[in-house]
Symmetry: C2
Subunit: 145 residues, 2 copies
DNA sequence: GCCTACCTTAGAACAGTTCCAAACATGGCA
DNA sequence: TGCCATGTTTGGAACTGTTCTAAGGTAGGC
């Protein structure tokens, strides 16, 4: 799997030097419905650049977030998850027991809003819906709850 | 400010020994629209029990969360916020710049849902809506965005 | 091909939280 | 009322996740 050319172009046009490390990190985050931790990314990036440091992974992830190429998901205890799916608006469903994290597109989200005074004068940039529950493995069919 | 008697009763009926430390922590969390960090709670609990340790604050907060008396809010980087407002369903509005966190009751939330297959077999326990934006102090009126 | 600004590195530092084992105190019971 | 067993508290160490630092390395403009 290789970086989509447009991404490399966007990176270059932001003044990035395209280094093997940054390429490796960006490659890991190709593909949607993926929610990797920095450690996950580090592990996978090492396949391409074995000596890549965790610091560089964090630096690169931070830069990608700052330029809107990926999103941070802080839904639960534990490390931040990085989400490359910025192109299709979506929300998350998380198992409070095992931590499994899935993309979802709930109905009705577009109607949720904060009118006038309810917005407390904020400029609202986005809305984030998180469903919490128990996945099939953690709440077997027929369980009391 | 003192603990509402019903809370003490609920705690006792769950087999809790009612110690000065637990009382102090519970007292801090009386009142709604409050979102304290463990440090905040520690500071305030010390007014009643100067020698209370941070470990006890964490223990007690964990217990209160486990018994559903308070909620954890992990909306942003930084420490978890503890929210005693479990009695009225509500959501949150957070300033991505200064971290200000407010309770909101957006319209349309009750219509948000994950039907059938969209739930991926999960038993859904609750839904959490977080609005992210910039507060009046951080995005002064008239700013470009 | 050179040079310089930018990038990467290992490891130390840091923030937030949990763990630990020893001292302590609540509340059931005599 | 006083005693005791068990649950609770404590300070500090340990731990996890993330950021910082300063020294060396390299992309890419010329
Ligand atoms: Mn996602
Ligand atoms: Mn709240
Ligand atoms: Zn699960
Ligand atoms: Zn603000």
């Amino acid at each position: 799997m290789t970086i989509p050319a447009p991404l490399v172009d966007r990176l270059r046009s932001r003044g990035w030097r395209v280094t093997p490390q940054r390429r490796a990190v960006a490659e890991v985050l190709v593909g949607d419905h993926v929610h990797f931790t920095a450690e996950d990314v580090h592990e996978r990036a090492r396949a391409a650049v074995p000596e890549i440091s965790l610091a560089t992974v964090y630096n690169t992830l931070g830069e990608l977030v700052a330029m809107g190429e990926i999103l941070e998901v802080r839904a639960a205890r534990g490390p931040v998850r990085y989400d490359p799916n910025v192109h299709t608006a979506h929300h998350h469903l998380i198992c409070t027991i095992c931590g499994k994290l899935l993309d979802v597109s709930p109905v009705g989200v577009e109607k949720v809003s904060l009118y006038g005074a309810a917005a407390h004068g904020f400029v609202i940039d986005d809305v984030d819906v998180t469903f919490r529950g128990r996945c099939p493995d953690c709440a077997p069919a027929g369980s009391a709850f």
